[in-house]
Amino acid sequence: MKNKICKVFALSLALLMLLSLLSLTVAAEGETPVESQTTVETDAETADLTETATVTDTETEDAAEAVTNTGTEEPTEAVTDGEAEDGININFQPEQFVINLKYMAAGMVGIFLVIGVIILTIVLLGKLTAPKNKDEE
């Protein structure tokens, strides 16, 4: 039973990684920049169009809608304080999971690369310093 659960879990993880790699490839083919450019559109009544990375003003009472533009992708709507205080108003966008899989792929590849370099360096350090140690002994 446990083995089955394990296999299912491992398979789904592998599938997820595959999907993320695919989305990374697709992103690389398109013109999608890695860094996101975020703009903020506030309520029309406030007549205050702000261009900041995120909604930072926690005192904003009007419902503000943060639109995240990641290149050619669909915009992301963010939940802000104003909305939150009105009650359960969480903006659920399941498609963002697949869209952002590229960060998962890039992150995991990046971390394995850096750790790989560190491992090689430690092995090298060990080898370079070993003879000196023997002499000292």
Partner: protein, 372 residues
């Protein structure tokens, strides 16, 4: 009727100005954190100041508490406290087990999977910068979480902090069921003989310097975090600064921890904390810890497919790749002993755990380079 309205007006006069019933809820939350810290000994050094601070900042006083606000601005907004704390942590860590078996570091990388998985999960509910700040809860590393959330200017700082530190304290409860679910008894019984390898003093001294240089080149955003951690370790390993090393490990770390806890609590005002998003963040934090653990264990199982029979790895050590040091390493060791009293996994699991500390900081740096 007239009497009743007069009575109610009288009662209303007794209620202090600036009082909100939600403040009562925050006192309760503060009380629970204090209870967990004292009675259950869950990260008492942080949960106790945070709990007390949560009560303090939610008292019906008019206006802000300037001293606390100053402390927050000076220590958290500038990221000074978490970075200084990293010097203490670096001075506490012995990288010996890792240096004698560097291959174990690969599990530290695998166990960061939860961070990036949670990033995708959180992006379904939050904008990318907040999602990234929430995902870093999976680093199981409070200071890294503070630095990343602060640099990304997350509006959910307090919830992220509380989740990060609470789950670190709950590692003994979260990890064992996940490990057991993903491994068979036969796998848990795998013995891994430990061969003691001497690590030269030169290696120990060069290690923090080299790691800082690599991190600076490969993930520049992580250089502050890695730099402070490794500086602390260099003080420890150089052998000529024993008193500084001791100060960093004890006095400095304790002092910063006191201020860090109470400063974090300044963000726990009822109007900022009591949101549905807070519950969601707590849930996502739990997902991050579970997937981190699963990532490490499953990666070890994957490696076992390719390894010869006599060189199989006990997949439980993969779970120690999260940064909760030394708790995670000890849990794996205890689980190994429970299955087989002669199976000593401590050195392996601590080696993996230490590598998780480095990997989580690098993961934080990568997150910052993506969204910073």
């Amino acid at each position: 009727m007239n009497f009743l309205s007069e009575f109610l007006a009288l009662l209303e006069g007794l209620i202090p100005k600036g009082f909100d019933p939600r403040q009562l809820a925050m006192w309760l939350i503060g009380g629970i954190l204090i209870f967990l810290a004292i009675k259950k000994e869950m990260e008492p050094t942080l949960l106790l100041p945070i709990g007390f601070g949560a009560i303090l900042v939610n008292l019906p006083v008019i206006g802000d508490l300037p001293a606390l606000q100053e402390l927050y601005e000076a220590g958290i907004a500038t990221e000074l406290f978490p970075l200084i704390l990293f010097i203490g942590i670096g001075a506490m860590i012995d990288f010996g087990p890792l240096l004698s078996n560097p291959k174990l570091m690969i599990f530290g990388a695998a166990a960061q999977f939860g961070i990036f998985f949670t990033l995708c999960m959180a992006s379904m509910f939050f904008d990318l910068k907040d999602a990234a700040s929430i995902a870093i809860i999976g680093a199981a590393d409070g200071p890294t979480a503070i630095v990343v959330a602060d640099k990304l200017k997350s509006q959910y700082m307090s919830a992220i902090m509380v989740a990060a530190y609470s789950y670190m304290a709950l590692v003994p409860l979260i990890q064992p069921p996940v490990i057991k679910l993903l491994t068979t008894k036969k796998e848990r019984l795998i013995r891994m003989p430990y061969q003691q390898k001497d690590v030269t003093k030169t290696t120990r001294i060069l290690f923090p310097i080299v790691i800082t240089v690599i991190a600076g080149i490969a993930a520049p955003s992580s250089v502050e975090l890695v730099g402070f951690l490794m500086f602390g370790n260099l003080i420890r390993e150089c052998g000529v600064l024993d008193s500084l090393s001791e100060t960093a490990q004890k006095v400095l770390a304790n002092l910063v921890t006191i201020f860090l806890g109470i400063s974090i609590a300044t963000t726990m005002r009822y109007d900022q904390f009591l949101k549905w998003q807070t519950l969601l963040i707590l849930g996502l934090g739990l997902v991050a810890f579970i997937v981190d653990t699963a990532g490490g264990v499953l990666f070890a199982k994957l490696l076992n497919v390719f390894l010869p029979k006599d060189k199989k790895i006990n997949p439980m050590i993969g779970a120690a790749g999260i940064s909760a040091f030394p708790m995670s390493g000890r849990i794996v060791h205890k689980m190994g002993l429970k299955e087989d009293p002669q199976n000593f996994l401590l050195m392996h699991s601590i080696g993996v755990n230490v590598s998780g500390q480095i990997a989580s900081v690098i993961a934080g740096g990568l997150i910052l380079s993506f969204f910073g």
